[in-house]
Amino acid sequence: MRIGIVCPYSFDVPGGVQNHVRDLAETLIALGHHVSVLAPGDEESGEQPYVVPAGRAVPVPYNGSVARVSFGLISATRVRRWMAAGRFDVLHVHEPLIPSLSMLAVLSARGPVVATFHTAMTRSRALAAAQGLLQLVLEKITGRIAVSELARKVQVEHLGGSAWEIPNGVQVSRYRTAVPLPGWPGPGGTLGFLGRFTEPRKGFPFLLQAFATLARSRPDLRLLVAGPGDVDEVMADFPDISPYRDRIVFLGKVSEEDKARMLRSVDLYIAPNTGGESFGMILTEAMSAGTTVVASDLDAFRRVLDGGRAGALFPVGDSAALASTIGGLLDDPTRRAALAARATEVVAAYDWPVVAERVLEVYSTVIEVAGAVVEQPVP
């Protein structure tokens, strides 16, 4: 199948959508399909030969962060040229409802179009004002995919449509085969945390609190943290933790490869989030690494963790419960192994080859719908 994929964000900056597009494209290529990805950017990169650059990206503030997108007459011309040259059987755009290459591609496309909605957008005045334009964009999209239940709900409630849910994929083998960082996890047990630890929704303080409780009676317990943020700032709020400060290691921002190695380096991965998590990508990554997960009892997490059979759940924001859950699991390797074993079974459904097959089913359906249309000759 000839597949054209449009990514609205530049590959120069890492991000969830870019990773998703890259993994999807590489999986589809491995399955024997022809894939071309159009993304903002200046030059071709040797690393991703299937990416076609569509010109410079400009930073645009959007939904609380800065997105680098391309939008304008020159981009529109490039999009049309790419589509004409590609002769795609199906066009798959990501996040088409923000002004971007994706939206341009949808507006100038004829034929089968699939779109994936990633973010759970909040209803904004801009969105309401542009309803007419958005309806034109949506109308051209035959297959609508949401990566999470939350993203699907946004479709239903705000845009009057619906969407087919296909979860975010994870490259299970990349995590399974990663080599632990030298010297980890160590004999006394190691807890892991990954993410922006200064962001309140990530709930890092609850983990620190639990760690302070546990560290008192477990002299060799360590905590490994990866992610960007100001370490001194977060530690200043926790005087209790200062005696154990040397047992907490901050790796800072890590590469994709080191992220996989970090997840293999810990006995327990802790996700103390207090909300705002639409899917829980990090959980499927930790589960792929074979690491037992302890997570807040959020809807999204409970779904991924098979109701607590593939990982332990604790009440949201309760650091005492978190400490006792962690303590119990550290003392019970059999239960830890049982949770990890179930996690391995569960995460197989999120493996990219499986997820890509589900995406291919959507492609087939929209091609069937388009194929059944009798194209009327243009007068």
Binding site: Q135, L138, E139, T142, R144, W164, T365, E368, V369, Q376
Partner: protein, 158 residues
């Protein structure tokens, strides 16, 4: 003199917009018809899988349910397909059904669910354009029958 030019310009603009709107109405209705054809094909595939599974596992009521679904008149079809979904759900729970048939059944049911989703989405778009003031005023949708949602329970098995 100027008012003539203004009137001509306005007429040309309105005519262009109406032509574009009429093409949009036609396109959305054609797609709704095509989506129904796709859904129909997947429902038939499901019925075929149901019959072969019923014969393998000796479930005579499932054969009847599949036959009724295939032969149903359009107005009875949703009820008949729902009935077939219920029988397939029972078969899916049934330990006597062999594994290869079971995974084929799950896949074909998921394709039905996906086709239904796509169909209902494009029907929603067609109904939305029919509600527009200019479309009603100029009766741009008059040559197309009104598309209808395919209102059935979730046919997917997990």
């Amino acid at each position: 003199m100027w008012w003539v030019i203004t009137v001509v310009a306005v007429v040309v603009l309105v005519a262009t917009y109406l032509t574009w709107l009429a093409a949009r109405v036609d396109r959305l209705h054609a797609r709704a018809v095509a989506a129904y054809a796709t859904l129909d094909a997947h429902l038939l595939r499901r019925a075929v899988v149901a019959v072969s599974l019923a014969e393998a596992a000796q479930l005579p009521t499932l054969v009847y349910a599949a036959r009724i679904a295939v032969d149903a008149q359009p107005e009875d079809r949703e009820v008949a397909e729902n009935d077939l979904t219920r029988h397939l759900r029972d078969a899916h729970e049934d330990a006597a059904v062999p594994e290869p048939e079971l995974s084929g059944l799950v896949q074909v049911s998921r394709r039905v669910a996906l086709a239904r989703q796509v169909h209902n989405d494009v029907v929603r778009d067609a109904l939305a354009v029919r509600r527009r003031l200019l479309v009603r005023l100029f009766r741009l949708a008059r040559k197309h029958p009104r598309p209808a949602y395919f209102d059935v329970d979730d046919p997917s098995l997990s």
